[in-house]
Symmetry: C2
Subunit: 345 residues, 2 copies
């Protein structure tokens, strides 16, 4: 609890003015090399750490960006956050992490907290919901970049995977392997991710001469406001798959909204002694860490989370430097398909 030494203390110790010490430590000109090194030595000896609050006040920025994400248990989002953190640190920024847990109320609170904390900019993954708390960010004049999920009524920079392409790629892959009656198990969320995925699914079906109708997709009820929501997703996927199978329906391919659903699906299929890939194909989404080790190894879609994160942070930093403020940009990065045994035929 030692009282932290200030510039003044260092200045007195070396017998110079506060200003000179500041210039010396910040590498500014107007200080001779000899005194600069003397000052640096003394500062180090006293364990001087600049007061970030005072520094932020006068500089008018906090060197911190807010990262508002729905759920850390989702591998995609923790990849995203990890990469943002790395990029930020390299640029001399730190990140303030706020979690919304897919809950609109918490999201509002998170945004407010970020604004209140004085972040210089925000990278966000929006939650679905009628009211839009993100406009508050723009009103406050804080640069904003959205990722992963689009908010159409908001004209801001947006970076994401190309989910329509992903939906098309995954669906085409199973159709090309002979599936004629595929079923899409999707998250029940009003987010662009789902919408685009279904659009790609539909386009692939129609390209292969299979008419699309709503019976080709079922929804897994989404859970909100649950810590580590992902822990329940496999369970939910299992339940939906089990219901489908006990209704007597036998799709020859399953496409799921994330690899946790596939995990639950595997269990449900096994209960009925339906073999993968002999009796039905399974295609995941997300390429989670466990997917290649399932039995059989799961074909899935590898998402470019790191690149999304890099592009998004780069854009935010550009905005913080006052560049490219005139128009907003939308970038969708192509995912990559990972074909494994679950779609072998």
């Amino acid at each position: 609890m030692a009282k932290r030494s200030t510039l003044q203390v260092v200045a007195e110790a070396v017998g110079l003015s506060v200003n000179t010490v500041s210039r010396a430590l910040n590498g500014k000109s107007g200080v001779s090399e000899s005194t600069r090194s003397r000052i640096k030595a003394e500062a180090a000896r006293l364990g001087y750490v600049p007061n970030a609050n005072a520094r932020s006040l006068v500089l008018g920025k906090r060197s911190t960006i807010g990262v508002v994400v729905t759920d850390l248990a989702n591998p995609y989002f923790n990849d995203l956050v990890s990469e943002i953190e790395e990029q930020a640190l390299q640029a001399g920024y730190t990140i303030l992490l706020l979690l919304s847990d897919e809950d609109p109320d918490r999201e509002r609170a998170a945004i407010e907290a970020a604004l209140h904390a004085g972040v210089d900019g925000i990278i966000g993954v929006p939650v679905q919901g009628k009211s839009n708390p993100w406009t508050a960010v723009l009103q406050a004049g804080v640069p904003l970049v959205l990722t992963a999920r689009r908010v159409t009524e908001l004209d801001v920079d947006f970076f994401s995977n190309d989910n329509e392409a992903g939906g098309y790629m995954t669906t085409s892959a199973v159709l090309e392997r002979g599936a004629r009656d595929p079923l899409l198990i999707e998250e029940d969320m009003r987010i662009s991710t789902v919408e685009h995925r279904i659009a790609g699914f539909r386009r692939a079906l129609e390209d292969h001469g299979i008419p699309f109708d709503t019976s080709r997709r079922v929804f897994v009820p989404s859970r909100r406001n649950v810590r580590g929501a992902m822990h329940w997703r496999a369970e939910d996927g299992y339940r939906v798959a089990r219901d489908i199978l006990s209704s007597g329906r036998r799709p020859d391919a399953f496409l799921v909204g994330n690899d946790y659903f596939a995990l639950g699906l595997y269990s449900a299929l096994q209960e009925r002694n339906i073999r993968v890939p002999e009796d039905t194909l399974v295609m995941g989404w997300g390429d989670y860490a466990f997917s290649r080790f399932l039995n059989p190894p799961l074909s899935t879609l590898k998402l470019p989370s790191a690149e999304v994160a890099r592009r998004a942070t780069a854009r935010l930093f550009a905005r913080l430097n006052g560049e490219g403020t005139e128009d907003t940009v939308t970038v969708m990065i192509k995912p990559e398909i990972a074909l494994r045994s679950s779609t072998n035929r």
Copy 2:
């Protein structure tokens, strides 16, 4: 990019002094209710958001705690971070997230960044390494709480699972189910977690009349400085298990350092047509989201990450309020075993 309005602007708008406006908005006494509501209305109309930098400077605190963690891809740590975030938000704090990626150099940089950013306190998960960057935190007079991994030479508050007990519980479970030749597959890290786990393993062995020697445990080489290190862990676990099996060794139970290793182990066992649990038992560690959905469902140890997080943050906040500064405290919370089919016998 609208210039944010300051207290002064609000003050002029209502024709009162800056101080009165400040008192009114902060709910302090000395302002009549009528003027208070008038001020609040005007502030809201102008979209006034207090300048966090100025506020932090005068209050002498940033209302932010640093969370220094090794790896977000590890389910245990993202549980931990999620819970810390929630607790912090409730207490009016935000969290600054720093990642060390199990790399001592990055850890040093992360700690420095947190200190530089002026956090009020730090919750950390230390990396192994000879030099100790954490002393810098104490030297700077910043309250520190460590979790998950102990640094013996550092006299600070420590909160964790009771890993020795966990090691004992998991080992006893397989021994009670008839295993006489168990093998421990452990991470090759010089951290207290591993050390305690092995100690518990050993104690359980000896309690059951099985002599411990170093051939009873093998190490999986640890990867450092890799984003999402967990993605490789299953692969590494697989490799170690495969080598064991191809050497002809046939343990009647495997205990692994985390559930990803179990995932790799399953693959290796399957290649040799060794059945679980008929031919050998498998016991995991961590109860990851996928573990109960494996085939067979994995017996494992459920770690009290949320409680560790809650206790640790509560302790840090106590320190921030100047309570309990006299001595340091060590808390080890008992984990819970989750018995599933992989140890059925």
